[in-house]
């Protein structure tokens, strides 16, 4: 059988690597550390591959391979197990994560060679891989959440890897906190799903969604549970995958080492949001309105980020905004019900974006650590391998035909224009989104080409000193670059659309769509006509963007670029300043929060807690002490006197007979008094009753009851004296009665 197909090994190996390196990494040489880390991920890759290609062959239609690793907890109705599942979707992502992860580990060996804290870096990288794999393989929402949080943690640790710089630490914090806001959404979504279906297992939830029922019941504002769960889950996805409004952390995250940006903020972690939506596809399909929201947000983000990318001057920042934009593409894909399309773009994007980032690393390495593209240029001659890889990935991301990006972008555009899932009311969403994406695709081509031309073409604008050091990267860095470039070309061929397949005599949907069907549902049907027109328009758009960029920046800053900058300085500045979104957030959210915290601190902490709650008790204790001090006279005789007085009081209280219940029954002018619950076993009690109020007892004796007949209607007071002969004490009770009528 499949001896390697133990699912838990997949995330476990990197985690063990991380643990070992954290604890003992310092003792080993760099080579050993790097070998351990890379081997851990590579082994995970091998197991994933084995499971994917051999294990899934038969079981992919029954939901894939699942493994119950550990029964986690059960509380009442909630049973949560730590279980992993590799099905069509998660298997694909496992391959992506482990394969690209391995490449990045190899690259990092060269890139981080001069780094002091070598073991820590690789430990964190391994940690990330382990957490990401848990996220992908998780079979129930809490397990996914563990991975979700884990990658957030790893991201924070890695962004702020060079923590000694304040800016880096702040960037890490920003990422984590923004993610947290998204996590809130994830949790609410999870709770809603649990409340409706009673389970947190993903297959069970998806089954419940497919059969309708609980998830379709209306919840708030007339929308079904599925809608709200979908929206909140998307909030989580927007946090993790940097969509509006929670994308602000991704550009700042470029403060981390470039391999980190490549792995986490391009290929894998940021795709977790897309993965989540695709995973919960059945739930989303129940709420077209939610899908519309996803698609619109994705499209707006794609366009918005692209515009910001026009004016960025830092290499990695351009790529960061590009990532945000491309993620928007992916969300449009899944938002139009075209889950296979979104995942396809995720797949291709992983290769070319990682490739682009590693090229950035290569370039910055050559430029002595600087990423300022205004001071680059002409690197094509000096960095041949890097240039070639960059060219491949560049053409891929622009969507030039044959390259992978072309096929995946077209898949998304096809889905946008051809989707029918919104129903009549929202049917405009599809074309709108498609149009926005075309604009964004144009923008993508433009800014990526701008990047290429400014960095690699024309004369070099750098200082003499820096130019001297420009050199190609070592083999350990070039090798992964080449592999990724190959991927950028070849990855697209798993998603060749049906229209082209027809040309080769094959029928039906693309390989990838067919493969993913058991996990995400049937692929979108697109008319061949639509496909061809989209392909044409997209190619024109891509070439147009490249052409425009060439006009502006081919071989350096050209006249049109200068003219534009002169004519619209404000616009350029706005784009460069990322539309001041961060500043807006600071003003609207952060400053008020800080002010509120200050107020709370001053009021609650200083006054309420310190002065009132703590000082108050101290004050009371002080007052109490002062009052009690009066009793401390230091005089034994007075103490004794008080003792004697107290004792006498006690004796007095104890010696009197107990108070009984007095039951008075009046019939006409006939009164019966009965004392109940007196000391039943006390023989020494005598009772005397005075009915007529003349001071002399009318009835006396041992009997605790007496009767009397009154003369006429009147108010009387009955006086009862209980005497204890032994102690020689007594108790007097008085009761008022009124005689109403005489019979």
């Amino acid at each position: 059988m499949f001896s390697l197909s133990r699912l838990h090994m997949i995330p476990l190996l990197p985690l063990l690597g991380a643990a070992y390196l954290i604890l003992f990494g310092r003792r080993h040489s760099r080579t050993v550390v790097q070998t351990i880390a890379t081997l851990a991920v590579f082994a995970s890759c091998v197991v994933s591959t084995d499971a994917f290609f051999f294990g899934l062959r038969e079981s992919v239609h029954q939901g894939g391979i699942s493994e119950l690793v550990y029964p986690w907890f059960s509380a009442g109705n909630v049973v949560v197990d730590l279980s992993l599942r590799m099905d069509a979707l998660s298997g694909l992502l496992c391959l992506v994560v482990t394969f690209i992860g391995t490449l990045i580990h190899v690259y990092s060996a060269g890139y981080m060679a001069h780094e002091e804290d070598y073991p820590r870096f690789f430990a964190y990288l391994n940690l990330f891989c382990g957490a990401m794999l848990i996220l992908v393989l998780g079979d129930s929402l809490p397990v996914v959440f563990i991975g979700w949080e884990g990658v957030g943690l790893a991201s924070y640790l890695l962004i702020g890897f060079w923590y000694k710089e304040n800016a880096n630490a702040s960037a890490g914090k920003k990422a984590f906190i923004t993610n947290r806001i998204g996590d809130f959404g994830f949790l609410i979504g999870m709770f809603l799903l649990f409340r409706a279906t009673g389970t947190l297992d993903i297959p069970a939830i998806l089954d419940s969604a497919k059969s309708g029922g609980a998830l379709v019941a209306p919840l708030w504002l007339g929308q079904p549970v599925a809608f709200w769960a979908a929206v909140f889950l998307f909030l989580g996805a927007a946090g993790k995958s940097a969509q509006i409004p929670l994308y602000v952390w991704l550009p700042d995250a470029m403060a981390g080492p470039t391999p980190v940006s490549a792995l986490i903020h391009a290929a894998t972690m940021v795709t977790a949001g897309v993965y989540l939506v695709a995973r919960m596809s059945a739930v989303y399909m129940l709420a077209p309105a939610a899908l519309a929201i996803v698609a619109v947000v994705g499209a707006l983000t794609a366009l918005f980020a692209a515009i910001i990318g026009f004016a960025q001057n830092d290499f990695k920042k351009v790529l960061a905004y590009s990532t945000v934009s491309q993620l928007g593409f992916m969300f449009v894909g899944v938002g139009t019900g075209n889950f296979a399309g979104g995942i396809f773009h995720l797949f291709t994007h992983a290769f070319f974006k990682a490739g682009l980032f590693l090229c950035a690393g290569s370039v910055m390495h050559a430029m002595s650590g600087s990423g300022d593209i205004t001071k680059m240029g002409g690197l094509a001659a000096r960095l041949p391998w890097t240039t070639r890889v960059f060219q491949v990935c560049w053409l891929a991301i622009c969507g030039v035909p044959i390259f992978s990006g072309f096929f995946s972008k077209d898949a998304i555009l096809d889905g946008a224009f051809a989707t029918e899932i919104y129903g009549h009311g929202l049917a405009w969403v599809g074309p709108l989104v498609g149009g926005l994406l075309l604009l964004a695709a144009f923008g993508t081509a433009f800014y990526m080409s701008r990047l290429y031309f400014l960095v690699f073409s024309g004369p070099c604008r750098a200082d003499e000193h820096v130019q001297h050091h420009i050199h190609e990267s070592p083999v350990s860095m070039v090798f992964p670059l080449v592999v990724l470039a190959a991927g950028a070309v070849l990855a697209g061929f798993v998603g060749i659309p049906p229209a082209i397949r027809e040309l080769f005599g094959k029928h039906g949907e693309s390989t990838l769509a067919v493969w993913l069907e058991p996990a995400v549902g049937a692929p979108l049907e697109v008319a061949h006509r639509t496909e061809w027109s989209v392909m044409g328009v997209a190619t024109i758009v891509a070439l147009g963007g490249i052409g425009l960029a060439y006009a502006f920046f081919g071989g350096g800053y050209r006249a049109p670029a200068h003219a534009f900058a002169k004519k619209m300085p404000g616009l350029v500045a706005l784009a460069r300043d990322k539309f001041r979104i961060d500043e807006i957030y600071t003003a609207i959210i952060i400053r008020p929060l800080q002010a509120l915290c200050r107020v709370v601190f001053l009021v609650v902490d200083r006054i309420v807690i310190d002065k009132v709650l703590i000082g108050g008790w101290a004050f009371l204790a002080d007052i109490g002490g002062r009052m009690c001090r009066f009793a401390q006279v230091g005089d034994v005789q007075r103490y004794l006197a008080v003792f004697a007085i107290g004792f006498a009081v006690l004796v007095w209280i104890a010696a009197r007979p107990a108070t009984p219940e007095v039951e008075i029954a009046i019939e006409g002018n006939h009164v019966a008094v009965k004392l109940v619950d007196a000391e039943a076993d006390n023989d020494d009690l005598t009772y005397s009753f005075d009915f007529d109020g003349d001071g002399t007892p009318d009835r006396e004796g041992r009997d605790p009851s007496a009767t009397w007949i009154y003369g006429g209607p009147d108010r009387h007071t009955i006086s009862i004296v209980i005497r204890d002969e032994r102690w020689h004490t007594q108790r007097t009770l008085k009761r008022d009665i009124e005689i109403r009528q005489v019979p």
């Binding site: 006279v633 004794l640 006197a641 008080v642 003792f643 004697a644 004792f647 004796v651 102690w727």
Partner: protein
Amino acid sequence: MNLMLHEPSLLERSAFIVLAAGVLGFALVTVTRKSAIGALMALVGSFCALAGLYATLSAHFLAVLQILVYAGAIMVLFIFAVMIMNRDEDNPIALRGLFLRATGVIATGYVFYRAAWIVVRERQSDVLSTASTLPIPDYGTVASVGRILFTDFLFPFEAISLLLLAAVVGGVLLSRPSRPSDGGGAL
């Protein structure tokens, strides 16, 4: 049921009255005297009368011990103390908090009034009988009390001796005259 089989004889009655009067009378004198020596003497007298009362209760051993220990040793101790301090009082009653303490006295009186009432009421009870025939022939003698003391109560007996040792040591320590070398005795 009172096991008294006969009325007390005239001798017994007068003996009791004299002794009781002596005890209470001398006690009153002790408490009201201004001079310490005078009070002490009255106290001695009270103790002697008390010893006599013990004897009428057939507690012979204790009667003798009362004279020897109380009237003898303890009172001598007091006399030595009085001689050291040699004080006479011009105002015997302490003044601060007098009201409180007077109230305490009255409270005590109330408690005893209650107690007395019960005692009088229950005077026929077995517990208070003083039968003319002794429960055992040598009741209250040195031999029989000693027997109990050295068998059932041996442990407390030894413990008391330890207590006395501690008291002796404590007394010596406390009353050592202060020398510059050890900072003033134990105080």
